[in-house]
């Protein structure tokens, strides 16, 4: 199995609290891996360690075999690590075309161009249109982002990340807050994400986790608790107790 993203004994402490406790984890090349765990399990901290938002206190992060533990967010992004956010992090004043166009031009190294307007960049337009189409944003491509329906904003959140042509994509609760009417559109686009992109999904929505993922890791109290195929995880009595049981009782 070739590995896209790997952590070895990754550790993070906030004072006396161990938020990530020597987690070793592997995301397979082209994998669809879900990370689940009860609230406070340290999922967000783990993501922040992977992307470089937070520095770790120990252990390593390897991206396609390269040690990126000491690299900045932006350096990891340039090496093919993309992410979306649990709460939309979009450019409110820009349109989808501009947001995606910017991400594509940055990736192609044209971001420092201070002379030639994006409106003349016919070379990026096909890619921008393809992304708009893939994420069903064609109709609203020239609308200000702040005024898009929430579901469309969620789609743009993923589209902007994919525009950076990531090898590994971290999706942080992509379905969070999406109204029922717009949900199917989101699920369809998630299912249709390019197969060569390795994806780590953090999600509370168990329906989405079990339809999307081919492998699941359970995090409890910052510790790697269990891992397996969806069927194995679902059958694991310990997991049912600490995590899935919670939902059944609710």
């Amino acid at each position: 199995m070739s590995v896209a993203l790997e952590t070895i004994n990754l550790e993070k402490r906030f004072g006396g609290l161990v938020a990530t406790n020597k987690v070793s984890f592997r995301l397979a090349q082209g994998g669809r891996h879900a990370l689940i765990g009860p609230n406070g399990a340290g999922k967000t901290t783990f993501i922040n360690l992977l992307t470089g938002v937070l520095p770790s206190n120990g252990g390593q992060v390897l991206l396609n075999g390269e040690d990126v533990t000491r690299l900045s967010q932006q350096q990891r992004a340039r090496r093919g690590l993309g992410r979306t956010f649990q709460i939309n992090q979009l450019f409110a004043a820009m349109t989808p075309v501009e947001s995606i166009g910017l991400a594509v031009s940055e990736r192609m190294g044209g971001g420092a161009d201070f002379w030639r307007g994006l409106g003349t960049r016919t070379d990026i337009i096909d890619e921008v249109l393809e992304l708009l189409e893939r994420f069903r944003l064609t109709d609203v491509m020239d609308h200000p982002t702040a005024r898009l329906p929430y579901g469309k904003q969620r789609l743009l959140e993923i589209a902007v990340a994919l525009a950076g042509n990531p090898r590994v994509l971290l999706l942080d609760e992509p379905a969070a807050g999406v109204p029922e009417a717009e949900r199917q559109e989101l699920l369809d686009t998630l299912a249709a994400l390019p197969k060569d992109v390795s994806i780590l999904l953090i999600e509370h929505d168990m329906d989405l986790v079990f339809t999307f993922a081919d492998r699941i890791t359970v995090l409890v109290n910052g510790t790697h608790f269990a891992e397996g195929t969806p069927a194995e995880v679902m059958a694991d009595p310990r997991v049912r107790e600490v995590y899935l049981g919670e939902e059944e009782h609710a």
Binding site: T51, V53, Q73, Q74, A77, R78, G82, R83, F85, Q89, L90, F91, A92, A93, M94, T95, V97, E98, S99, G101, L102, A103, S105, E106, R107, G110, G111, A112, D113, F114, W115, R116, G117, L118, G119, T120, R121, T122, I125, V128, L129, L132, T138, M141, D142, V160, A161, A163, G164
Partner: protein
Amino acid sequence: MPTDTLTQPPTAVAPTTQGLHERALRNLGRTGRWRPAEFVFWALAAATFFFLPDQHLLLGEIAILGLFALSLDLILGYAGIVSLGHGVFFGVGAYVAGLISIHMTGEPITGLLLGGVAAAILGLATAPLLLLRASDLTRLMVTLGIAMLFYEAANKAAWLTGGADGLQGIWIDPIFGRFDFDLMGTTSYAYALVVTFLLFLVARRIVTSPFGLSLAAIRDNPMRANTIGIPVGKRLVAIYTISALYAGIAGALLAQTTMFVSLDVLAFHRSADVLLVLVLGGVGYLYGGLIGAIVFKLLQDTLSTLTPQYWMFWLGLILVVIVLIGRERITGAPATLWNRVRGMGK
């Protein structure tokens, strides 16, 4: 034939793709397109040169202040960097242009460019200080502190700057060896207006470029800008340096057109005034600095004639009103009123 079009889907599809291409490109180029109001603005600016010959001194001051405020807009309006010490670049540009005329050459373009370059070097050197801790409060204090340092340094270094007496003996040669600087300020105004216009054109290009769009992205959401691979720090240093260059050129213009430089160019009120001017005109659309400069200078001119001692009071009041009520509501008031009047008729 209707049946033909039905059997040939490619011809039906092609125009749609073409249409989408155009729509996307049009949207990507939207900020770069010239609006009619912009042509009117610059046509009026050019017209003032011919139709207000006895106001050239005032108009020249407006053009220089406008350029200075535009330089602040580049960092504040486009990159979200606040500054209370932008006057330092203006002052350094003015001193360098003055010193060049005394010690090297009276040729105006040389002094103008070197004044700008000196300010740009200072901008490049100090920009990293603003990135260490990217909070507005630290930035305000760091910029204010640097401006104070330079004011005192210029005061102490009397051997170079003339200290409190100012730089004596500046003489600027005719522009291109042909246009003498006259007492009516006609050449000065033409010079300042042309330089401001050319730099405006360049700034307009910069802010509508992919680089400019990346600045807007950083201003909107620095965290996301980072994760899509935008080198946030480098971009901010770049625009800060460009902004310093612009401010330095504005300072050099003042030194050359007045043929005098004193400590006043580095005084705190320069930094405060330019911020006030920009807020008066509005941030983030390049014209704010220019319009603000017109409003500020006209208010200053009118109010100081009416109440020579209390004009700052009225200026302060107007500023408070504009900031509290919001510019949109003031400029949109006629339309709102019109809608209300029409509504009553129904």
